[in-house]
């Protein structure tokens, strides 16, 4: 398979004045094959956007080189180059030209673009009167119909409703699979990255610190993120997903313990509270998924019930005999209201299981991949 984009030893240095400088990117080496999707993940300030800016020739690298095979187009911010006074129709032409599409091609795809954006009725009014959703949809529609071999997309899915986001993802997927286009995709939305990408590179402080199969890299990334989030109280955490109709406020142990330390086989009593922020009426479903420190799924505790009239609901979950091998564990918490996910917090609660009775096998411990401890007994059989 041929290459679409090759980045060799790329560095970008910014002068901070007084002889000091700062490396926004350091020795980046990446290759994107034709028809594949490369995801870039990393925390804010890791250099993802700088990399896209260099790839799209907006700014230039201090060192290294980039080979692009074919035409490259980028969508770094939705709606740049839109003129508020012009109508939707005019803006499609304007934006298409700015992004490098010849007029004849825009003409050919005009109907397709309009249908994708769903703005048929509003084509002839100025875009300044558009709702922000329409604006974004139109902008993405133009970019999604670019006929470039390599497409750079930066965090555009953060906007728009769930339905539109889904369509964007499908469009990108079909661009790469059916039309053999190559895409570099930056996002903080891990499920989008996992669905769409063939390969993921994780950037941290300007360097690629891991690269490979999406799920593996994402798991590592999330584990690292979780470590950073571990000390933040649950209700203050920002790394949530869901539509926000309810908020998980806290998980505490209802036992007299100074720390989250359990003996294997002990009881676990968890108190969980969530806030019905919009006074929703109906049913809710709580899912607590148990994982070990390696991120392997072990078990779930689920609860379905009717919402009460109370603002904050508090529930107690009791687990008799916490039959786990010694090690570290965490819970992911999902909260659904009438089947739609309202809130999700990953790694919301951590606890450690110890094994004073020494039931566990040495080898099992050394693997650091603790699982369930099944109660068992041995007896010698006399033949």
């Amino acid at each position: 398979m041929s290459d679409a984009l090759v980045i060799k030893d790329l560095s970008k240095e910014y002068q901070l004045g007084k002889g000091k400088s700062f490396f926004a990117l350091k020795n980046i080496n990446l290759t994107l094959k034709k028809g594949k999707v490369l995801g870039l993940i990393g925390h804010n300030g890791a250099g993802k956007s700088t990399l896209l800016k260099i790839l799209s020739r907006i700014t230039f690298p201090s060192q290294g080189e980039i080979d692009v095979y074919g035409k490259l187009s980028s969508l770094l911010e939705v709606g740049t180059g839109f003129h508020p006074e012009l109508s939707g129709r005019e803006n499609i032409y304007l934006n298409g030209s700015i992004l490098g599409m010849p007029k004849s091609e825009i003409k050919n795809r005009f109907a397709e673009i309009v249908a994708f954006a769903g703005v048929e009725e509003f084509l002839d009014i100025p875009v300044k009167r558009y709702s922000s959703g329409m604006y974004v949809r139109l902008a993405f529609a133009v970019a999604a119909h670019l006929d470039a071999e390599v497409l750079l997309i930066d965090e555009v899915l953060a906007v728009g409703d769930a339905e539109f986001q889904k369509r964007c993802l499908q469009r990108m997927d079909s661009l790469s699979k059916e039309k053999d286009r190559s895409i570099v995709f930056v996002s903080h939305n891990m499920s989008a990255i996992a669905k769409l990408c063939d390969e993921v590179a994780w950037l941290e402080k300007g360097e690629v610190i891991a690269q490979g199969k999406p799920q593996i890299i994402i798991d590592k990334y999330l584990a690292k993120t979780a470590e950073l989030n571990r000390d933040i109280p649950l209700h203050l955490r920002e790394d949530r997903e869901g539509d926000g109709r309810a908020k998980i406020r806290g998980i505490t142990i209802q036992q007299n313990k100074a720390e989250e330390l359990f003996e294997s086989g002990e009881n676990l009593n968890l108190e969980l509270s969530f806030e019905n922020t919009q006074n929703h009426k109906g049913n809710f479903k709580l899912d607590l998924h148990l994982f070990n420190s390696r991120g392997n799924y072990l078990s779930s505790f689920s609860l379905s019930d009717k919402l009460s009239a109370k603002k904050v609901e508090t529930w107690l979950c009791t687990v008799d005999n916490l039959n786990l091998m010694p090690g570290d564990f965490f819970l992911n918490v999902h909260l659904y209201l009438d089947g739609q996910r309202a809130d999700f917090v990953g790694r919301a609660f951590y606890f450690t299981v110890i094994d004073p009775a020494n039931n566990a096998n040495e080898i099992a411990i050394s693997r650091q991949n603790p699982g369930l401890y099944l109660k068992h007994a041995w007896q010698e059989l006399k033949s």
């Binding site: 800016k53 799209s56 020739r57 700014t59 230039f60 980028s74 770094l76 911010e77 740049t80 180059g81």
Partner: protein
């Protein structure tokens, strides 16, 4: 206001040409020059957000203002022709000189515009200073008065320096062709200056082009 200042108070010499035709012929090119210059030098800063998000050849921004200025120019030109033919001192053939001299004006405006737009990325205050510079340039250029007014007061050795201002020579040539007047041969220097400004502006712009998005 300027009209009264120059005609009634200062009683300026217009080389025997009717005042309105004379002044308007100067303003025609001057207005185009000052429009293109001020617009193009501000073009990068005003397109800041676009520069940081989309790639396109940056030089399009300042250069496109040359086209934009043509709209206003066309309207003034019609008005000028009306006045000039009414006052009856214009040689129709002399009007042909308008096109090359307009190109000369454009070269000068683009040249300075390219310099200033590229420089104003680092030195933003240039944008604040530009109106004053243009005002000064307006008064030292022979727009509402004849160049002789200045030339007579200058020592001979400095007379050629007057044409370092591209507007002086271009206007002198334009009026010479239009109203059948004499002109100093040094007036041609202005066209060379205009061309040099354009070439050097182009060169400087390309030199800083790569850093635009980082510095702006």
């Amino acid at each position: 206001m300027l009209f009264f200042l120059f005609r009634n108070l200062l009683q300026v010499d217009t080389q025997g040409v009717a005042f309105l035709s004379f002044t308007f012929s100067g303003l025609l090119l001057w207005n185009y020059f000052s429009f293109v210059l001020s617009q193009s030098s501000a073009s990068l800063i005003s397109a800041q957000s676009m520069l940081q998000k989309i790639y396109f050849p940056r030089i399009i921004l300042p250069l496109s203002k040359g086209l934009l200025g043509l709209v206003e120019l066309a309207i003034s030109l019609v008005l000028f022709l009306f006045i000039a033919f009414a006052e009856g001192q214009v040689r129709a053939l002399g009007l042909l000189s308008f096109i090359p001299l307009l190109l000369g004006t454009l070269a000068a405006a683009w040249g300075l515009g390219l310099w200033l737009s590229a420089l104003s990325i680092r030195f933003r205050d240039l944008q604040q200073a530009l109106p004053f510079l243009l005002q000064m340039l307006f008064f030292i250029s022979p727009i509402a008065y004849s160049p002789a007014l200045v030339q007579e007061r200058l020592p001979e050795s400095l007379q050629s320096l007057y044409y370092l201002n591209p507007i002086s020579g271009i206007l002198e040539l334009f009026r010479a062709a239009l109203f059948n007047l004499d002109y100093r041969p040094q007036a041609w220097y202005s066209l060379i200056i205009a061309l040099l400004l354009f070439i050097s502006g182009w060169w400087y712009f390309h030199r800083v082009e790569r850093k635009i998005a980082d510095l702006i």
